[in-house]
């Protein structure tokens, strides 16, 4: 449903361009067309990799390894899991919720969530191809500590009752 809406919006944008720029719409269309070719050429291998990873990486195993007692290993694993998970935030949140419900430590789940939105590797690959490796490597190195600090800081601020409330919220 959501997908259909996005296509409708796209169609409307297309019509709007043609109607509002009767003279220049050709230039806009060829610009968009060139962008589309670039998009397909770059994204086909990535979506293949992501789709296959999605099927092969098991959820149950992920849940076991990032619990309360997982320590530093849990943190590092959460970080890498996040960096390798490439789904939009509205798909990530249910995963994060599931991880918390199954006993994942809050800071680990937050590190997972934040590293996925901020410094995921597939994203870095695209960023590099569009903006150059200098830009993306610097942004990565700057954001890595930010993700870790924010993940741990939020856990610090939350009281035991807050965490209990989150779990209750998820069980409901």
């Amino acid at each position: 449903m959501k997908k259909i809406r996005a296509w409708i919006i796209m169609g409307a944008a297309c019509m709007a361009v043609i109607l509002s720029l009767p003279e220049d719409y050709g230039a806009v269309m060829s610009y968009a067309g060139a962008g589309l070719m670039q998009f397909l050429w770059n994204l086909i291998p990535v979506f293949l990799c992501v789709g296959l990873m999605d099927v092969w990486v098991e959820k149950e195993k992920m849940i076991k390894i990032i619990g309360e007692k997982s320590g530093l290993t849990g943190k590092v694993l959460s970080l890498f899991m996040g960096m390798l998970t490439a789904v939009p935030i509205y798909a990530l949140l249910p995963i994060a919720g599931l991880l918390i419900k199954k006993g994942g430590r809050i800071s680990n789940v937050l590190i997972f969530l934040c590293s996925s939105v901020s410094i995921r590797i597939p994203l870095l690959l695209f960023e590099t191809s569009a903006l150059g490796w200098k830009f993306s490597i610097c942004r990565f190195l700057l954001n890595l500590p930010v993700v870790l600090v924010i993940g741990c800081a939020i856990e610090r601020v939350l009281s035991d009752k807050d965490i209990e409330d989150i779990i209750q919220l998820l069980l409901r």
Partner: protein, 161 residues
Amino acid sequence: MNRVFTMFLYALAILLLIVSVYKDRDKTKRGIQKGIWMMLGVLPYFLTIMLVTGTALIYLKPDTIRQILGAESGLRGMITAALAGTAALVPVLAVFPMVSELLRNGAGTAQMAIFISTLTTVGFITIPLEIKYLGVKAAVLRNILFFLAAFATSYLLGVML
């Protein structure tokens, strides 16, 4: 550089595909289907953005962009970019080409970095959804902290590059 990079991705995808087919045909099929659906999910957003940018580039001259988001636009430009990134809900993949186009047309590095950072980490529209899974406190804190951190990291990035 970019071409080598894309080639590497193709090689990786083909390798994964071969291993996957060898291990389990059905799972491979599902994986490929998932990949295609994900791609079709991003495609309309991408095309819409390309249309909007294409139109904007007809109207916006490099000078105007430089004024609003240029390196000299300083904090004001960064705030504009940060608010735009916070409000927008589009896959970041779709905006990279636009950002690189803007950079070529005179936008500042720090301004573009903060746009990407806030677009990826802070979501005004997704906060209600986030609250459902993380509770009010954690969700709101997470967004505020990332919004502030984006200023620090992007400022540093602008200085470094």
